[in-house]
Point group: C2
Chain length 242, copies 2
Amino acid sequence: MNVLIVHAHPEPQSFTTSMLRQAVHALSSQGHEVNVSDLYAMEWNPVASAADFGGRKNEGYLTYALEQRENVATGSIAPDIAAELDKLLACDLLIFSFPLFWCSVPAIMKGWIDRVFVSGKVYGGLRFYDRGGMRGKRALLAYTCGGRDFMFDEQGVHGEMDLMLRHMLRGTLGYAGFKVLPSFIGYHVPYIEQAERTALLQRYGDYLTKLDQLQPLALPTLDAFDEQMRPRAVVAQRDVIA
Amino acid sequence: MNVLIVHAHPEPQSFTTSMLRQAVHALSSQGHEVNVSDLYAMEWNPVASAADFGGRKNEGYLTYALEQRENVATGSIAPDIAAELDKLLACDLLIFSFPLFWCSVPAIMKGWIDRVFVSGKVYGGLRFYDRGGMRGKRALLAYTCGGRDFMFDEQGVHGEMDLMLRHMLRGTLGYAGFKVLPSFIGYHVPYIEQAERTALLQRYGDYLTKLDQLQPLALPTLDAFDEQMRPRAVVAQRDVIA
């Protein structure tokens, strides 16, 4: 299996970075090929802009997705995007490794998605969800947060974590066509003791050896919708958990 | 009323930018003071990092939120953050104006949140939701997207838009203490004709004259939770819509 881990943390000694090292170790030990894009170390530029395109289809007005399609097709997309896109297209499993910032990914990682999840390859036309460009691949969020697990359940103060992360799980990874595995979450990380951290790293390593046993999140199938994306029949949304 | 509009679009001629101008006009006409932070024009740096702090509480290990608290207190936070924080603290109404990128804000705007929503002022300790630092202020998302409205209702292919944006509505604005007004959404914008665009701008202008008539989103109250954030009683989460 080819694995791409996209990682972002502003502190190289962080626990999240220990999780990254654990993932590289656990996956390499199983014989998988592991690539890491460490966005802070790479000084990744997260800002989608006209500068991403070597040649413009429309010089007078920037339609970002249109220029993505054109510039990927003609090989004139910015080299930093092209390099990441090659890694993305080659991978069987994509892992986003990050600390939760405002119930989402840090901006530097959001900008990896904005710039690398290009129209024409990752999605486009009616190719999304189970017809998305990334179908056949799997994806996983592995993240840390300050809150406790019970704060993120249905009765918790923040509600279910998978609903808070729906924009990532469903709106991004699911939309792109990935099978989305259940997230691995390190709760309360800034406040736990060393023994708990060690146990958490161990659990993460174990988790990564058992990915085939995990049930992917339930996501929409386009078969349930017509060409205008009108539902063919009433769907029980409660069955779509992410 | 003092209004801060934080705006991000990579194309200055975009319809989203017309919405920004409409907002400035509609709000100024009502006698409100309007400040605009146009993030692409400002070349805003979205990457939270050690460089944001003039003096470090802990030089050997970066805990971003801790250094935010310390550096705001001592006046040594980066000048670009300090300037935006002043605008944020002065406003009565915050509007985020943007095109939807991957069911969220563009990275440059996520990085405004990561860096400006500082610990110690915006949140911290047990000050969040109805005890958050921004209590007394209101906030609103005003955004455009390519999809049609029926794709984002309960039976739609993407499910309810407010659930897709929960990380922003509840996890960010609600958490910070804002009263969150219903979003103004321009659907299907890349595909609509000029007459529809004109009508949409008109509706947005009208919307901004009637903010006092809008019912804020239902969000948790900390009164329902104890000091450990355990629920005092079972809450009907279905009543919390955002």
